[in-house]
């Protein structure tokens, strides 16, 4: 019998930190370089570093090229990073609190609520995706949060002792209901069909840093709410009853994590529309290579989720350039086969 134990509290080792950060940095650079204007890696890197206040590296770029980087490409790439990170982390968080590998940020009516909110905003104001006022994001955000509040309230009233299942079923019911209203409103206002459709398929088209600044505070608050519970999510892996016998306040933990994950997902949906599959494939990919502890899954999902969406966005805007493929189509196109692959190759992931 072995009497020596090599004990380790689950954590992200420095190799993982380094590897995931390098991948993210590389994705950001590629994202800044790809596009009609020909800008080299070195110059893009210097311009990137110059974004840090107080640092100003000389580049060989013209005013116009610098402008393209600072006003068009960097804002878009960074928006992709935070949206990808938010969707991935909130997906992992939902999977943790519901102990359900298929749970994702859209589970509890986030997508349906946001869809209804955005549709109502587009129909009632005639605002398009290019509208300068953040009416659509605000309406989508409110709709997403309302969808989850409705699901949660419904799930708890009918739940009794079977909280998790009833919450998920309530989410399905609420989503179906909200989608029905959304479809009805959409059909009654056929002239706005294209605007609504554009929004639903998801896009990261952005000019300047307004969208990024709009969502960043919500995502940071959400990140704090989720990351302080990274150990609690490991405890919840043994189920509500055992977690409770270990002294965890399961109901409170679930409420805070769901609220945080919803905040992050709603903020992401508000500026980027419905981008599917990210919240499922990124955390599952991470589990496959780095193990199932949320103390590894959450930080790595944030970094690699950001990188994933930057790369998906590069595909979206270069595949049919100068036209853009909706990024939601790209993530689904890449995500669905990847998902099947994950299911096939690993029966031990969740």
């Amino acid at each position: 019998m072995a009497t020596r134990i090599d004990p380790a509290v689950p954590s992200v080792g420095w190799k993982w930190w380094l590897g995931a950060s390098a991948l993210l940095a590389a994705a950001v650079l590629v994202g800044a370089v790809v596009g009609p204007a020909d800008i080299g890696f070195g110059d893009a890197a210097k311009a990137l570093i110059s974004l840090i206040p107080g640092i100003d590296l000389a580049t060989g770029l013209s005013e116009l090229e610098l402008g393209i980087l600072e006003v068009v490409r960097f804002p878009r790439v960074f928006l992709a990073v935070v949206v990808g990170a938010a969707l991935s982390v909130s997906g992992a968080a939902y999977q943790g609190v519901f102990r359900n590998p298929l749970a994702d940020p859209y589970l509890l009516g986030v997508a349906a609520g946001a869809g209804l909110g955005a549709t109502l905003a587009i129909v009632s104001t005639g605002a398009g995706a290019e509208s300068t006022l953040p009416i659509i994001p605000a309406a989508a955000f409110v709709g997403a949060v309302a969808g989850v509040v409705l699901s949660y309230g419904l799930g708890r009233t009918v739940g009794g002792t079977r909280t998790v299942t009833s919450l998920i079923l309530a989410g399905v019911a609420v989503a179906a209901f909200l989608t029905a209203i959304q479809t009805f409103v959409q059909q009654r206002n056929a002239e706005t069909l294209r605007e609504v459709y554009d929004w639903i398929l998801g896009r990261l088209a952005t000019t300047g840093w307004a969208d990024f600044r709009l969502v960043l505070p919500y995502m940071l608050i959400a990140a704090i709410g989720i990351f302080i519970h990274r150990r609690a999510l490991d405890v919840m892996a043994v189920g509500d009853e055992e977690a409770s016998s270990l002294g965890l306040e399961v109901g409170r933990t679930r409420l805070i994590v769901v609220a945080s994950a919803t905040l992050a997902a709603a903020a992401a949906v508000a500026v980027a529309g419905l981008i599917g599959f990210v919240g499922i494939i990124v955390p599952h990919g991470v589990r496959l290579v780095a193990g199932t502890s949320y103390r590894r899954v959450l930080p790595l999902s944030a970094l690699l989720g950001g990188a994933f969406l930057v790369l998906a966005d590069i595909v979206a805007r270069s595949m049919l350039a100068p036209a853009e493929v909706p990024i939601g189509v790209v993530t689904a196109f890449l995500g669905a086969p990847f998902f099947v692959l994950v299911l096939r190759t690993s029966r031990r992931v969740m």
């Binding site: 009853e241 016998s245 199932t292």
Partner: protein, 257 residues
Amino acid sequence: MTTQLAVRRLGVEIDRSVLLSGIDLTVDPGEWLGLIGPNGAGKTTLLRAVAGVIGSFGVIKVDGDDLATLSPRERARRVALVPQRPIVPPGMDAFTYVLLGRTPHLSYFAAEGTRDVMIAGNALLELGVGDLSHRDISTLSGGELQRVVLARALAQEPEILLLDEPTSALDVGNQQQVLEVIDGMRSARGLTVVAAIHDLTLAAQFCDRLALLADGELVATGTPHQVLTEETIRVHYDANVNVIWIEDQLAVIPTRQ
């Protein structure tokens, strides 16, 4: 001698059906109380109520403190529950699993420190499964898993260990070994053990006292030879058995007519 666990007029109702009512029980420090009774008698419900994971009426006192006044963390530092079929999260290694037992000792957001790592490691070693610490617990055998789950309960450093059918999934050899290990833990740490045990012969061998539950009520308590009579077992289990003595040990043998 003070009472380690005192249960007064305990009742449990779930979805308007009464699962337990009027239970009065006391358990002394270091004692091993066996809960016996037919399927559905309320053994598991009683353990869950004492562990505080389901609501109940009446009073449960641990070492004089009313369980209802303790926070979940305080409660979990004093009472550990090993369920009959623990949920086994795939992909979690045994060491991380045992570390979960430190949850009630950590402040809300804290991570485990050196002391927690040592306690978890010692728990694995004490149960003879130190070599499994890196294994994915979903790949363990029944006997190995039961030891790892016990190690998690031990890492909680409780005063009272609640066990729900700790041997029901094990072969006869593992049943004996696991019960011996529990007995060893009990004497080494002065633990009080309350265990639901299906096998009446094993219950008689290991428990100081037995409490017989039937239809949610306590129908008999006492030493194994007081409780385990052919008449009692016939009435409450609807079973025909011979209770015989082999040397100084009581054995319950089913008979066929």
